[in-house]
Symmetry: C2
Subunit: 349 residues, 2 copies
């Protein structure tokens, strides 16, 4: 798997899986999507594709248009956090550009004409911001965006006006969930104007104790200011999560070990595993690795398995049409092979 942001190489990556910065932009002179005709949308597609070609970013990368975007591919990109649920659900003429290590993606004809994001491992907004600004500067050489000197970038939804930026982290908080402090901490996050969501953004469930924290507003502050606010809040949450893990290690050692060893042994031995069970067990295993109970599996492997075991990615991995029953078997096989294989490689069992 080439997905670089799953590598668990960034700072704080025992708690923060990844961070993401997304810019929303609209091309000057073309109506927003809500009013855009099919011709407008084709024009946008054409202009952006041309720009990407001009920028010479298409080698080793993919521009997937309506033809390539089969339901399976769409689902798999959603599972890999490369497109949004809205983009996946929309029937519009759209396309998505994905760079070779999947750290950058750009949706054409989503809610805005274009939305692009940079994903990186751990809590490294600096890296992501540097990369997206670099890409943004290049794009602006080719495209002129709708912009007001008073408001900043103009977007379809008022909540994106201004910087057009959303910054978020995918954070794993099993310690706060187990110590039952999660609600208090999340309430604090909401109070300072940030949003908390599930694994796949707005309106999705929280599973396996993974949460998304992001900024709500993008107007009235600079990109750097917004990132400062969210990074500060996330660092606080990381502090609480670390304390919770410490508390658990000291005061509920056996209960946590029980949970972790059960999860590990089921992952290594089950013959049928649903997608939901996989997330939950991998999340517990992840906790086990970060607090040192498990030391024969890497966070990178767990992060990758979290994506690979999802329905569409599993189908693509096995290159095979499968009903849900067969998927559950293949998922169990993949988990077994990867988690036993890695343990063996590390000289343990």
């Amino acid at each position: 798997m080439l997905t670089k942001w799953l590598e668990s190489s960034g700072p704080e990556s025992d708690i923060v899986v990844s961070n993401r910065i997304r810019f929303a932009r609209n091309i000057k002179g073309i109506p927003f999507e809500i009013k855009a005709t099919e011709t407008d949308q084709e024009k946008i597609l054409g202009m952006v594709s041309y720009a990407l070609e001009e920028l010479n970013v298409l080698k080793n990368s993919k521009l997937l248009g309506s033809q390539e975007l089969t339901p399976l591919i769409i689902q798999s990109l959603l599972e890999r956090h490369l497109i949004s649920p809205d983009f996946a659900a929309s029937k519009q003429k759209h396309a998505v550009f994905i760079n070779n290590d999947e750290t950058l993606s750009l949706m054409i004809n989503e809610e805005d004409h274009i939305r692009y994001q940079v994903l990186s491992s751990g809590l490294d907004f600096e890296l992501s911001l540097f990369q997206i600004n670099d890409f943004d500067e290049q794009l602006e050489r080719e495209l002129e965006f709708a912009y007001s000197t008073e408001l900043g970038f103009l977007t379809a939804c008022p909540s994106n006006v201004g910087t057009g930026m959303r910054a978020s982290v995918l954070i794993h908080l099993p310690g706060l969930v187990l110590t039952k402090e999660i609600e208090k901490v999340l309430r604090g996050i909401l109070q300072i104007g940030l949003a908390v969501r599930g694994l796949y953004g707005e309106g999705t469930e929280t599973k396996g104790n993974f949460f998304q924290i992001s900024n709500q507003q993008s107007l009235g502050r600079s990109e750097n200011e917004i990132i400062e606010i969210i990074e500060k809040a996330v660092r606080q949450v990381i502090g609480y999560e670390k304390k919770a893990r410490e508390y658990l290690t000291q005061n509920a050692k056996i209960e946590v070990e029980d949970k972790v060893f059960r999860a590990q042994s089921i992952l290594r031995n089950a013959r049928i595993v649903t997608s939901e069970e996989a997330i939950n067990l991998l999340a517990v295993l992840r906790l086990g690795v970060t607090i040192g109970i498990i030391n024969d599996v890497s966070l990178k492997t767990i992060n990758e398995l979290l994506i690979l075991t999802k329905p569409a990615n599993l189908r693509i991995y096995y290159n095979k049409e499968m009903e849900a029953d067969e998927r559950d078997e293949k998922r169990a096989t993949l988990l077994r092979n990867r988690l036993r294989g890695e343990a063996k490689k590390n000289g343990q069992n």
Copy 2:
């Protein structure tokens, strides 16, 4: 552990854990327990103890009186199927005799003056009947029992009058439970006048798909006839269970493997296991062994663990007062050590 009937050495012991024959007897000239005074009960205790001494059966065996029968010991004997729930609950002056390999036990002052039972492994009523008849003949040399030439042996409850005999099997029917045929089969058992009960007899729950099948009546038929009826019925149930296991192996292989490997891996890795979970997991493991999915653990070990992991036996095994929390940890440790140890011994993992 010396408990011979857990050895899984008898016929059909992949399905029938054990068989049991119990005789109820009352001493001529002393009122039934319901009318007996404390003096009567002391007299019974004295007469039976004397008889046992005369018979020279007390070496290597135990006669446990009110002093020895602490709540812990009573509970442990109940868990080992050596006394009845009624005996355990009663506040009367009572005692119990248990032979050295725990195949024979005799309760004094239960519902009847004395009740004795022989337990043996698998479906071997012939062996049990031979042993209990042998013991019975010896006892009759020392004690005169209340007997009517018309009715046979007289007992406190009319359902025991006649032979005073109850014959039962402890049978494991996971196949019929998984194929959902169990109710139909049990209805058939009830229709021919036999009783079906849980793991610990009348009024107890069925756990881990273990059932007790026994005769209801003991009047109007000879001991051999009663045993013939129950053995025939049990053989039919065994036939159904075997077919169910065959069906599962052929048509739900992966589902059964999933269940079995999960149970095995949890038993080998959990750090906290409740009594009820232990029964259920061991029962699934037992199925796995009998259908050949698991081959590094013996049925004997599983049968023994089913008893050893019960609360009172666990306390005695570790020779330590324990609260429920600590018991759950020790239970997990015992299961882990025994099941990993045995696997290692058998050269597997």
